[in-house]
Amino acid sequence: MTTTVSERAWIGKDLKRREDPALLMGTVTYINDFKVAGMLHAAVLRSPYAHARIRAIDTSAARALPGVQAVLTGKEAAEVIGPVPAFCAEPVVEHAIAVEKVRYAGEAVVAVAAESRAIAEDALDLVEIDWEPLPAVTDVLSAMQPGAPLVHENLGTNVVYDHVFTFGDVDGDFAQADHVIRRRLRWPRATAAPLEPNGAVCAYDPARGTMEIWSNTNMLNSASWVMSSMLKIPPHKLNFYPMYTGGSFGSKHFLAKVIGIAGALSKVTGHPVKFMEDRLDNLMANDSQGPERIYDAELAVTNDGKFLSLRLQTIDDYGAYFIFAITGNTNMMAQITGPYTIRSVATGIKAVLTNKNQQTVFRGAGSDVGNWVLERLVDAAAEQLGIDRVEIRRRNFIQPDQFPYKIPTGNVYDSGNYPGVLDLALAHFDLDAWRQEQARARQEGRYLGIGLATAQQRSTYSSTEFWFHNPAPATGLNSTPESVRISVGPTGGVTVTMFSPFWGNSPETVVAQVVAEELGIDPRDVNVTYDSTAHALPSAGPGGSRMTVMLAGAVHGAAARLKEKIFKIAAHMLEASVSDLELVGGQVRVKGVPSSSVSLADIGMRAYWFKLDLPPELESGLEGTFTYDHPYTTKPHEDRKDLGVFYPIMGHAAHLVAVEVDIETGAVLFKKYVAVHDVGTVLNPRSLQGQIRGGIAQGIGLALLEEVRYGADGQNLTSTFVDYLLPSASDVPSIEVYHQETPSPFTAYGVKGGGEGGRMVAPPAVTSAIEDALRPFGISIAEMPITPEKIVRWVKEAQSRRSGQTH
């Protein structure tokens, strides 16, 4: 039974995050703070070459250094651990420490365990490697050429995946179109770059054959069976402990290489071993680089601005390995047609391997790219047809009465009110005033621009997206459960246990609010804790904006089970019938007779220590557990003409942005930023706003600053924060965030996930604003980051084109 909005005591309340005091007081333990007795420290020697064969490695001097306990080459490590687990069906094999050849600059070649990290690094200085450098491929177009150096010789090609998906009558719709908008667009390689890099402490017990693992992986419960084959230890003999995570953004899903390295060294030394990435390790080899794509994108449009069909062809630079296959491309098929009634889609995907650190998933997971590509086409259509950018979007929105709405790929959008979100954004932005200000500024030779994006933010992933692109998948996984346990102790205290770790968001706040709602208690009285995998219930962990939805569902279910027992005990104590009871303010009472009540403490004590006074069929103890499965997912059709429902909990946002561009320096200054998000029922406005602002900051970073760069020789040119430019406080404007609430019909309380939305919508909005500022020069922006140097160059080129025309 779900409470209705008006009855809710705690859901939707703007409470302070309960995680913050511990984080601010420094009382939580991050992996780098963690120590166990006898622990050694690891350091890793990384390849100076992007592509090279390892002829020989001499580690004798390193081994002889006092304080060094073990030195492992890739070959030696392969005797104690297997390859890194991969979800791809293609035979692309990766080792935590490279064997025989390296495929990107920064790939691990030797690992050392020593009494201190400094000694371990001293030892790395003493390793001698005989290299045979090979030509590197760093550009997808060259990598696709016949005769290009092969990243994986066994594949016979660098094009590891190549397929065109067609949904609906694309050719027919394009034939009917009055206009075809065409753009070649480039999305830059970015990386998650959390403040805290990846780390693990692995403790192998040779007597028991067990390994205990403390790490900042997000995917504890998936990790044990996934990592078992690599560590060569059965899953039930691995115990993963949850740690507080200092940011993930998708980059800490498995950490297989970090756990593999620490695990191998622990097996060899018999000591616990910590391997903590430093910034160089993380930026060169964290396996969390985002997509790097070239798109040929086409939108079929009628004279009155109706979008009929979308045709995309992408070449995507996946880097040197392929652990999540083409997830970055399948993900965006959940919302490929955006908030618009586009009736057919073709999307061609060429995944190409190069000598770079591999692409996996990073906040948005490819749907960020899809939004930018689509919104670029929509802006271009508005420009080409002479229709206002707001108006053309209105004409194509799916209307509120059309939900649930099935898009051509087969995914279903649960609910939405897109015109409502846009209206709210316009009301807060004051578009007319900004247009006047823009006209006035242009008289003074200043360039103001107004940007708009209206885009989707899918949430609550289903694991079918990892394999449905493949007719013969390596796995056919289709569960993504999440569980909690709620216990009421003998004195009435309520504890909620989660089985996924804290990954930087607000899971404790969310869980406490929902439990408080269900038990009629104060969320500040709820204790929230985490448990290790040895004690865990099924849990898939954070990813794909799912945890708020999944935890809310799990708590809702667990509370119902708990309440059943509470009511049974209370009924026994009050000598009343269960149907006559209600739970209010932590008291169970007979409806209409407030004086006849028992507290949770009374019930708890009875449940734990007075078995003879319980109803005879009840066991001692008072807890409710629940495993919440994905609220709505279906399998893909055999022919893949319909991918099934895999990301139906669909949020939406409208961003309106005003910028001023200094055309002499290329500087971009934000004047106003309004973001309206609809992610269903809001559990906590404050934590959601934080998520949205943080996401927008990352989106601004992508639009203006961030890019992983490789030299032609494959050297990583952005391996420190001097060169990989994250937005800082002075680069991010004050952002006004507003919520519209269109509940999901499929989830507990109607919540949707909001974790990635800010980053998924900011890039097209910012691009649109800068393009609008530069409209007097006729500049069409087709790439990011939009650096000051590019702006200056585009303006100069436009000016010289103009003067060429007038002469």
């Binding site: 990290r117 200085d125 420190t720 800082s728 140097e789």
Partner: protein, 293 residues
Amino acid sequence: MKPARFRYFAPHTITEATQLLDEQGDEARLLAGGQSLLPLLNLRLARPSALIDLNEIQALAFIHPRDGGLVLGALTRDATLERDPLVAARQPLLVEAAHYVGHPAIRHRSTLGGSLAHADPAAELPAVMLALDAAFTLQSSTGSRTIAAAAFFKGPFQTALQHGEVLTEIHLPGLPPRSGSAFLEFARREGDYALAGVAAVISLAEDGTIAQARLALCSVGPAPLRAAAAETVLQGRHPDEAAWQAAAEAVVSELKEPPSDIHGSADYRRHLAGVLTRRALALAAQRAERSHS
């Protein structure tokens, strides 16, 4: 990211420091604020045999008035420069430029002398020293000498400091009346290394023309540079847009080979140097006029 082994000393006097420099030999390095040196150590790009930490030498941290100008101890923190009323009154250019050095946390450690001795071509303060005609006192165990800023900066991370010498004092002559200054730079983000930076000082004559213009740039060459040709162009002219434009063109043509990297090509830096020169000169002249009114 841990440094290779080194010996560590923390002397309390300049004499002890120079003795240690002599004893520890060529591979010893002086440590001031550490904001450039420590990352180099951690990346093992620098592997000194010994670090001689100057932070305990109280006698190196001072700001004194002298002859209408200033004398500053080499250990003066950038955060102090930003806030000191005497510096603000006599050399506001230093206050303005110090604000561009990194971020507040960095400026609370980083020092004026450290920045000058490190001589990063992208650093702001060396260019400011050129524009202000600064002179430096260099002390060794055998005595001390004074050298003009113009003779001090030799190239990227190269100075006239000999082994055994410590930069101890920075002398800044006072500005003539009717002077104004400005520092402008452009970086990808606030606190980043500048892609180009300009320090400008304009001194006006009685008749309102430019009596003297001093202009120095950072991050557009192997060392901070004084734009002599542009200064000549400005001499005696009326302070107006045309003058700034002429000076900017002189600066741009004076730049030989600005550095080029992923944050900005040589062409773009040259372009920025012109734009910033124009803007900095206009601002400095405006301030010079205001100082008179």
